[in-house]
Point group: C2
Amino acid sequence: MKYFGFAGKIAHIDLSSQKIRPFPLSETYISKFLGGYGINNRLFWDYQAPNTDPFAPENTIILGTGPLVGTLFPGAGKVIGTTKSPIIATPKKLHFIDNAVVGSRRFGMMLKNAGFDHLIITGRAEKPVYLKITNDEIQINSAENLWGIKDIYETTDLFLHENPLSGILAIGKGGEKLVRYALALVDYSGHLGKFGFGAVMGSKNLKAIVTFGTKGVKVAHPPEFLKLARELRQKIRAVPLLKQFHDLGITSGWALQAPLVYEGNVPYREWKKKFGPKIWKKHKFQHNLACGGCIVACRTDFHVPAGPYQGLTSFTGHHFLPARVALRLGIEDPTLIIKLLDICNRAGVCFFTVGGLLNWITRHETDSFPREISTYLDLLEKIISKTDIGEIAANGWYPVSQHLEIDPDGFFEGRS
Amino acid sequence: MKYFGFAGKIAHIDLSSQKIRPFPLSETYISKFLGGYGINNRLFWDYQAPNTDPFAPENTIILGTGPLVGTLFPGAGKVIGTTKSPIIATPKKLHFIDNAVVGSRRFGMMLKNAGFDHLIITGRAEKPVYLKITNDEIQINSAENLWGIKDIYETTDLFLHENPLSGILAIGKGGEKLVRYALALVDYSGHLGKFGFGAVMGSKNLKAIVTFGTKGVKVAHPPEFLKLARELRQKIRAVPLLKQFHDLGITSGWALQAPLVYEGNVPYREWKKKFGPKIWKKHKFQHNLACGGCIVACRTDFHVPAGPYQGLTSFTGHHFLPARVALRLGIEDPTLIIKLLDICNRAGVCFFTVGGLLNWITRHETDSFPREISTYLDLLEKIISKTDIGEIAANGWYPVSQHLEIDPDGFFEGRS
């Protein structure tokens, strides 16, 4: 069968037996399930048994891309990760099946160029490993000199030095230690699966996946396809907000977005003054990062120009995230929020979840945990290393609410 | 005129006036001066006035590549930097004109692909800048958010995130502060100009040069050229030492090289036991780096697997360099030498010079400077920031010998 858009191949990698089985993508799946997202979910259905524990070797990870990824179609750079989430989302400890979708700079494009649309990952490696996926070939390599040693940024840089065009998906200490809201970073800037996708990778002793290929992606009607892609790019370029997206990330329109995420614990004007776009423009660094094929380039970097964290640069999707966490934690100095963001990024834990949990803990046990940066840094370190109260906090909302004896649904983020 | 091998263009960039003047490479120069090295020196002769102070805006930097760079010719990745060295090499404070040649992973190839064989850099920018050189275009951009903030590795990574195929030449704090033996790193791994090339860049407020281009390099007789290149590659592949080069860098043959660099202050067997190839293989990390077009891939990385510097990875040309500095300083723990190497790399100062100077100072003033790692770290920090005795040590051999009242030519590296 001849494939267009799709690479036409899926690989099942079992980390317990170290067996790798590539097989063709079936025509039925292509016609019945919509794009990478649809097929990802169908594959999960095929491979996952009911009642599987999220951290058991039997839990399945499906990682995939869609048919447009790797072509010149604008914005087609997404990667989809599907697995059973380790988040304890209800008192009954039921777990959700969850999908995470994030833009990738090269990972998706390179997975396709290496010949694969989807990866099915099961089992648990005996020792830490990473997957190296090049033209039609998959290697399971030792990651013992990365595990527990290199954070996500360092791991990504390391593989980039080896081959600067690789796509890289990696976890940090959060995933390694099974923090339940640990995520993976894709190509430095894409946060994949804050529901614990990184923790499931960690439970499999899987540190990273590196993709690179030169096979190309075929389209069925090149002239028509390219014409359509060109027209769409022109339309995107004409969007008046594009400049704003470049400035401060995808949700940069403060007037539109701010009211939706305002949490009411400080007066609105004060929040805007302290954490509005002007503040972040001052802390924006060098450039934006764009996903493969995308002309919006919405991932922005924030930077600490002076003070104890001088020189630190970290990436995020938009300035509302640090603005909201700062609002919750009552932090006034933007550089401190960038520091917290950076620790979360390097360890691969969800910054937004961390911000919320630190808020809960410090509001409810203010005597033991005064609401100041040293407390936040200490708690964050404890979460990532799962020590002391961090052991509970690393388990997420419900365990923490039980520990603090609060009703999570009744918690009001109002003025204090 | 049609050029083969050569890109055919030179650019004179004056940082004081911000003027950029491109002009064609003359046929006379091509026929009269051998390759990039020859033309580099002729251009320096053309532009430099006698008796110029190395740190004056009038001092000229010539940066160039040769006609084979950017082709498939094996090993052709070199970059040449020519300038008047700030090293105080004689009691009369005369300065040498010096050439530095180093392999580049992408810098040389990308300079050619951007359309330039040589750059002539004069003047001094008012504020820190970097040069961005893309297809036939040269921009002088602000580097104020890099200067004094980002070390060389961080600066390089930053530009690589923007464009992973860029060639990047950058200086660190050593060059910024005019340490006289400050060098530039080219593409992370090439040490250019330990005679102070980095300091001359620093004196011009020039933090980095970033190259990228897609113009290609033409050869006159492609089939014959490719045949020759292929034959040479086959010959290189047949060299029995190639595996050793991959293992531990270009001078990895201990049996051949060690006697040449043995300094006699510890018994030979003991040195080999402590710092022979076996030790470095244990500290080798992930991979080697290769220069553009090279199949030897001789730049190796060393890594700290545990202890206070766990996770640190730094690059060097070969394992003899840390082995010799360890020998001189009497350091027994390889991870401490890797730490010193890393500080030097990030700050862009010559590790070998630093090793020698620390040896002198701690041997002659052992009471104030006991020969132990904390002293070395402290002295190195003082050199890079030019504080206390670091101010003198940053000026290099002669000033230090005068300060210590020793005869540099009479200093014997014998057993203590």
